[in-house]
């Protein structure tokens, strides 16, 4: 044995294998530690203190930790008074948002459909008639035949001082209306022609056809418009004369002093270009029994 050789006793003291990790921790042990299910006497070396520490961290509440109870309840009361607490069971915001979105889409769809139908002239008759009535109150320069018995086309603008006015005090026609001076001898469909000329009525052929047909039958009806009844009403029991202030619902001028004697001529004054008509323009047109056919011509 050489001098530099180690002693056999020293060789025996050398470790044959490294020591296992004294703090090794498997999953089960860790879960038991975290759950507080590991008794101290069963804890592996080095983890008994950890178990005690974790138990202390999860210990019962201290008085200091519970000191803010009244303040928290005061906050709850304040929130309840302000109505900000959301009742249990109320719908989620997403659901309300979806409902609102559906309503908005439905409204937009109906509006678009209505506009498209109105543009193409495919609106149902009742709706179209209602729209005409509404529009007629805005602009009576476009008289349209109506299926409503109480509504009649306006008389020719050349019919004297009452032209441009209806029995309901409609406005006089503005200047530039074609064929506005035509008398009763020309045709009684001139209001419709004027309307077509003014509004480019060729856009709606169907409507024009209806209008023309109605106008063809309208001679008697128009005359009825222009004729006043002996009782001064328009046939529906309404007074054809304007209110005492002379304005009616239209924008006409002062009514003639003897408005009662000018039956069937409305209440408004002459149109801007309505003068110069033939002497026959103010002549009442006889009322015929074909009014019914006009009313139902559509």
């Amino acid at each position: 044995m050489a001098a530099d050789d180690a002693w056999s006793a020293e060789i025996k003291r050398l470790p044959l294998a490294p020591d296992p990790d004294p703090l090794a921790l498997d999953d089960d042990l860790a879960e038991r530690l975290l759950d507080g299910d590991l008794p101290l006497d069963q804890a592996p070396p080095g983890y008994a203190q950890v178990a005690s520490l974790l138990a202390a961290a999860a210990g019962p509440p201290t008085p200091a930790e519970l000191a803010g109870r009244e303040a928290a309840l005061a906050e709850l009361r304040a929130m309840a008074r302000a109505g900000r607490a959301i009742p249990r069971g109320s719908g989620r915001p997403g659901r309300r948002r979806r409902v609102g979105l559906l309503v908005a889409v439905a409204v937009c769809g109906l509006s678009t459909t209505g506009i498209a139908a109105a543009t193409t002239g495919t609106l149902p008759d009742p709706i179209r008639d209602t729209a005409r009535r509404i529009l007629a109150t805005v602009d009576d320069t476009a008289p349209m035949p109506s299926t409503t018995p109480g509504r009649r086309p306006a008389p020719s603008p050349g019919d004297g001082p009452a032209v441009g006015a209806t029995s309901e005090g409609q406005r006089p026609r503005p200047a530039g209306v074609p064929e506005a001076t035509a008398g009763p001898g020309t045709s009684n469909d001139q209001p419709c022609r004027a309307s077509k000329a003014r509004k480019g009525a060729d856009k709606n052929k169907k409507l024009n056809a209806v209008t023309s047909q109605a106008a063809g039958d309208a001679d008697n009806v128009t005359s009825e418009c222009q004729n006043s009844r002996p009782d001064g009403t328009d046939g529906n029991g309404r007074d054809k004369h304007p209110p005492s202030d002379g304005h009616g619902r239209g924008q006409g001028s002062e009514p003639p002093p003897d408005a009662g004697s000018k039956s069937g001529q409305g209440q408004a004054g002459p149109p801007p270009n309505g003068g110069g008509g033939s002497p026959e323009k103010g002549r009442p047109i006889e009322t015929g029994p074909r009014r019914t056919s006009f009313s139902t011509s559509r």
């Binding site: 860790a30 202390a56 961290a57 509440p61 519970l66 906050e75 009361r77 607490a85």
Partner: protein
């Protein structure tokens, strides 16, 4: 834990019943404070108040059992803590002189005796010395009493990651308790 009566308590609290809300608060407020003392020391009281305000506003929409409610509350708490961190990051930092910082007590310091009486606070302080992820995982598991999957959702991590974090945290605690802070911590806890 509230136990089988939790659904009734939750319903009553959502309806504005103060007693029922007090039961919820009594069960969770200490856990919230301890959680905040670990992850956001210095702002625990304020963050707990903000958390309860959020709970009051939204408790009517919550649906679930007690464990889910607890996880929901701590999810709100973590969001509040993150908001607090952002606010703190925007605030200018004023450095304090080193002498104003409290020195750790010596093993035979009388303050250690006080610390023994406040064993919970000492334990939380020791957990707070862990790396942030490990400390949060440990406190959510131990103090909040949440499962691994719930902690993973709250911390936005995978469950295996949470397991690794807790294992490392426990091992580090064991190392500290057995070495530097061993005798004192043993007394403290």
């Amino acid at each position: 834990m509230i136990g089988p009566g939790f659904p009734a308590v939750l319903t009553a609290a959502a309806g504005g019943d103060e007693d029922a809300f007090g039961v919820l608060w009594h069960d969770l407020q200490p856990r919230l404070l301890r959680y905040f003392k670990v992850i956001a020391p210095g702002a625990a009281e304020d963050l707990a108040s903000e958390t309860w305000l959020a709970v009051i506003r939204a408790v009517g929409r919550f649906q679930g059992d007690e464990a889910a409610f607890r996880a929901w509350v701590f999810t709100i708490a973590r969001h509040k803590a993150r908001d607090g961190w952002r606010r703190a990051a925007r605030r200018p930092v004023q450095e304090l002189p080193a002498t104003s910082l409290a020195e750790p007590p010596a093993p035979d310091d009388p303050a250690a005796t006080v610390l023994e009486d406040a064993s919970t606070q000492a334990a939380l302080a020791l957990i707070a010395t862990l790396p942030a992820g490990q400390a949060e995982a440990v406190v959510l598991r131990v103090v909040a009493g949440l499962e691994v999957t719930q902690v993973a959702e709250i911390m936005d991590k995978r469950p295996n990651t949470v397991r690794v974090l807790t294992h490392r945290g426990l091992r580090r605690l064991a190392e500290r308790l057995g070495a530097d802070h061993g005798p004192r911590a043993r007394r403290a806890v």
